[in-house]
């Protein structure tokens, strides 16, 4: 009986082992960042860019909850915070972000696009001036919020 139970377990376990150990065998030398990128893709590119190029005292403006749906990763404050802490995260509407006053801290707004069948979503709805956007390799990015509002 017990050997039958073990055999049934192996039906589910062996494909997982093949997949996991196969990945490791094919990519033995990936850095931790590259491993995370293999899972989180363009989201990881974005947070790496923000981490590299913005001060830790920054405030990052992210989509309001009502506008977060197309971006389960990039609009999730808890996932963002796990990569960007101690930067502060503030949810804002995509049409209101330019009214946020920096008040002594550098403020940046995320710039996101998402293609899905039959639609293209972009955030924020009021897009920052194109030349002010810093893009990650995979197309998402951020723009600095100028004091006194967007200067577009």
């Amino acid at each position: 009986v017990t050997l039958g139970v073990i055999a049934a377990n192996l039906v589910g376990l062996v494909p997982r082992l093949q997949q996991d150990l196969g990945f490791i065998a094919r990519h033995p030398d990936l850095s931790p960042a590259e491993k995370l990128r293999s899972i989180y893709g363009r989201f990881h590119d974005l947070v790496e860019l923000i981490r590299r190029t913005t001060p830790e005292t920054s405030t990052i403006l992210i989509p309001a909850l009502a506008e977060a749906d197309p971006w389960p990763d990039a609009a999730n404050e808890f996932l963002l915070r796990s990569f960007l802490y101690p930067r502060a995260l503030v949810r804002v509407s995509g049409t209101e972000w330019s009214r946020v006053e920096p008040a002594g801290r550098p403020v940046f707004v995320l710039v996101l696009t998402q293609e899905s069948p039959g639609r293209t979503d972009t955030w924020p709805a009021t897009r920052p001036a194109e030349e002010s956007i810093v893009f990650a390799p995979s197309g998402w990015g951020y723009a600095r919020v100028a004091s006194g509002g967007d200067r577009r």
Partner: protein, 452 residues
Amino acid sequence: VIASLVSLLAVLALGYAVVAAISPRSGLLERLGLGGGVGLGVFTFLLFVATAMGLPLVAPVAAGVWALCLGLAAALGRRRGARFVPGSAGRGSPAPRLSAIDRTGLAGLLALVGFVATASLVIGVYWPVQAWDALTEYDFRGRIFAQTGSFAILNLDPYYAGIPLLTSLAHAWIYLVGGSTPHLIYWLYYVGLLVAVYVGLRRELRPAASLATAAALATTPALFVHSTLAFANLPFGYYFSVASIYLYLWRRDRRSSDLVLSGILYGLSSWTRPGSEPFVAGALLVLLATTSGGRSRIGAPGQLLALYLSFYLPWKLYQRLALTVSGDLYEAHVVLRLDGARLRDVLSFLWTFLTNVREFGVLWLVFLTTALVSLPRLRLGGANLVPLALTGWCLLAWIVQIYALELKSVAYLATASGERLLLTFLPLAVYACAVSPVSPLPRSESDSPPRA
């Protein structure tokens, strides 16, 4: 990796000493199986107490807490006559006589368990923390504890204040000593669980039967996956299941140290994740129902409850008194009203999960069959009733808990949370099958029938 290993070996040594102090007659394997879980639990709990009392959460303080606790446990163990390295069979049980077939079978099973455990280790070490809940909560809190030396992050959002701190403080300990591989914690729980199940079964089953049961557990896909992730489900499952196994062993052999270990492990389950209450209430009820008259009828449940509350209450009090955010309190989610359609949904989900061969193999089906066939042979008050009845209670508690949470949040079942919760008492279900009155597994030659 080396620093992570050293930090976990230190915790294992602490747990080893604590188990030896509580149970001086315990064997080497038993101390190793329990040492990781007990060490991580007791050490992180004391770190929490020290930090809550105002000490900074920094490496020297953590090392001081570790050394103090190790010294106390070693002194207590010496006073109680515990030998540092006992015989591997432990508890004075005779060395088993093995036939050639037994030896070959044992070698094959050992090779299988060794391979699966090594694969888990390789995968865990290869990947940085990457699972969603681990990134956003368990590991995040641990990283920030280690960076800031305080619990201030808990006040940033109720999300961070809702779950007890065991796994996050274990991560913090690894980071404080310069490690970077917290997945090793979960490997330690995985291997510890297998060893604890094996050692428990060895008290009444032959070595090959005990090892085959441990191998059935080791190869369970869901359990294996959790040994490579930084989620709280495997640690909770370790504490709850091993606590229940020791409750059964106490009921069977009446060794007081088993009851103490059971109470501590139940307490540590509450220090791992919220929602232990209904499961531990089941343990108390089963204990009351299966303990005959005399002092132990009240004394044993009282002792178990006191040990449980000694780990449960401090965090609850801290949440309410010291944190400025309310915390995502588990009990705030619980609402009950009758909704037949929702209840049918929950039962349907349960059946889907129990029959999910890709996650659980056929273990749940074996448990359900064993429970049904055992029913006529169970005796109210018999020790064998304990694991079966407790697993049955857990399934019932699962239904109530998921139903109550479903009423509050439609999305809950859409996630794998319900399925992950089932994982936490799977080891107990497997153990219950192995020691049930209808188990075909051969019993040890030295096994004596359980006391009434």
